[in-house]
Point group: C2
Chain length 300, copies 2
């Protein structure tokens, strides 16, 4: 029994002209989420942000910006195309579609090649791979339009693979909430297993998704809040989940000197600047081992 934890992700911002994204209302967002083959389970709001917990991950919406993250066998590109169609391409300030390499690509309804074929029909874009093709990597497609991110517009993703069996149920203890104190939290425990949470504070969010299945175990963490000590959060995530390996992905405005440290040994790192103004740092790390591990037996 397995579940595809590694996610697809959309982030976009729209111009100040025209209606707010939040004003579009819950039925609109339900229809967008449905297009991706997911549904809204619950929501929590601040004065400036609506945070939806989805059957497959999360959606955060402010007046002029959104991030949608979906896992499993979702079809996020269909949601992207619905959004760009209904918002109008001319209103977009930037759009980035990201996709982590899957554990079980053969069960996915699409791959990045077919994703970008569809996206390129709707908008001019560029596509990149950060990470070696035979190793952990993210794919990125972005609208090819100049944009200048605000100085504090930073996003951190920590994608953890091969979670310690003992640690995979740590979400039962409340330890995940404590990663970033002072956030209002919305969470869901899935049956037979799995955990999602959104935390919001003003226009800041953090989100954690846990896929504890022994085959393909995975945890993702993401935030746009960098005032809680990012290096300490990465260290705490490694301590909580003890992954076999992890990616650290940083989006930041071009020219920012921000770096994020991970204590695990580095296997590979990649850096690149997109024509939409963001600089991306991608690094893949692994847990050093003292002795050979046993083979994993696959029983019928």
């Amino acid at each position: 029994m397995f579940f595809e934890g590694p996610e697809k992700k959309l982030e976009l911002a729209i111009s100040e002209k025209g209606p707010s994204l939040r004003w579009l209302g819950r039925p609109y967002w339900e229809s967008v989420v449905r297009r991706a083959r997911a549904e809204i389970l619950s929501s929590v709001a601040t004065a400036s942000m609506d945070a939806y917990l989805l059957s497959e991950s999360s959606l955060f919406v402010t007046d002029r910006w959104l991030t949608m993250i979906t896992c499993g066998k979702t079809d996020l590109v269909s949601a992207v195309l619905k959004l760009t169609d209904s918002l109008g391409l001319e209103r977009l300030r930037y759009l980035v579609y990201e996709r982590k390499n899957a554990h079980f690509q053969e069960y996915q309804p699409s791959n990045f090649t077919s994703d970008i074929e569809r996206l390129r029909q709707a908008m001019p874009g560029k596509a990149f791979r950060f990470g070696d093709g035979d190793d952990h990597h993210i794919f990125l497609f972005h609208l090819d339009r100049p944009y200048k991110p605000d100085p504090g517009d930073e996003t951190l993703e920590v994608l953890m693979h091969g979670i310690s069996p003992e640690a995979s149920r740590i979400y039962m203890t409340g330890a995940v909430h404590d990663l970033m104190p002072g956030f209002e939290v919305d969470e869901h425990i899935f049956q037979p297993m799995g955990y999602s949470m959104n935390g919001v504070r003003g226009s800041k969010y953090f989100t954690v998704h846990v896929t504890p299945q022994p085959i393909g175990s995975y945890v993702s963490f993401e935030t746009n809040c960098f005032d809680c000590g990012t290096d300490a959060i990465v260290a705490r995530l490694m301590e909580l989940f003890q992954p076999q390996s992890c990616d650290v992905v940083l989006f930041k405005p071009q020219g920012s000197s921000r770096q994020v440290l991970c204590a695990y040994p580095l296997k590979a790192s990649f850096a690149g600047t997109l024509s939409c103004g963001y600089e991306i740092l991608f690094s893949h790390h692994y847990k050093a081992q003292a002795a050979p591990k046993p083979a994993f037996e696959i029983t019928p």
Copy 2:
């Protein structure tokens, strides 16, 4: 444009009773190879071994033993089932089916789960994964029957990913032949690119397959000859192909102290003993990097 370099592999031995495998003749082997969706391109022989160069990799046959390696979109399980059907399961002393994780699993006609479903219908077996599921790994299925390999029955595989673009055409220079001097060589250069070679000396073989395509570049090396200085060969392979990462896989009789060194840093290693008497060491290594690498742009 890409090609699936990472291979599937069958190795089996039959009892001394009954006809020799070589005696079955070329038309028989042509039909076996066809069943895997490949064809024989050429062959070379010694007094004790026939070595076939295939459109997708290699087949080595002695009187009582064979190894068949296939890449691309081949269906090696169908060839396995034809062989076990025509030879008779009771004649098998051992059988091991191995499969490296693919670069492009979504384009494969099967995955290991469906492979072992088919194999288990024909024979009792056990299945294992060596390597983390989210990382480089090999799958192994073996006939669950006691066997005691000969002391010198050792096989080394070196599976190299992300080949240096400059090195990917090194096969034009003859450098591959020189890896193991004194072997009779049969080779084939594929159009528009690609290279396969078999080298034979008595009952010893070595084989090299090069997939130089920039996306999914890959080189595999395999031998059952350990008297040429195995550590030196691994070092020479790293020097020739400068892969981003590589697996070193060693099959040896249970209790053997044989080890193979790789100078690249170690990411993970696995060890296990099969009930058919072989001990397997699998290790994954990577090329250390001094600075972040640039993102890879994916053009339409």
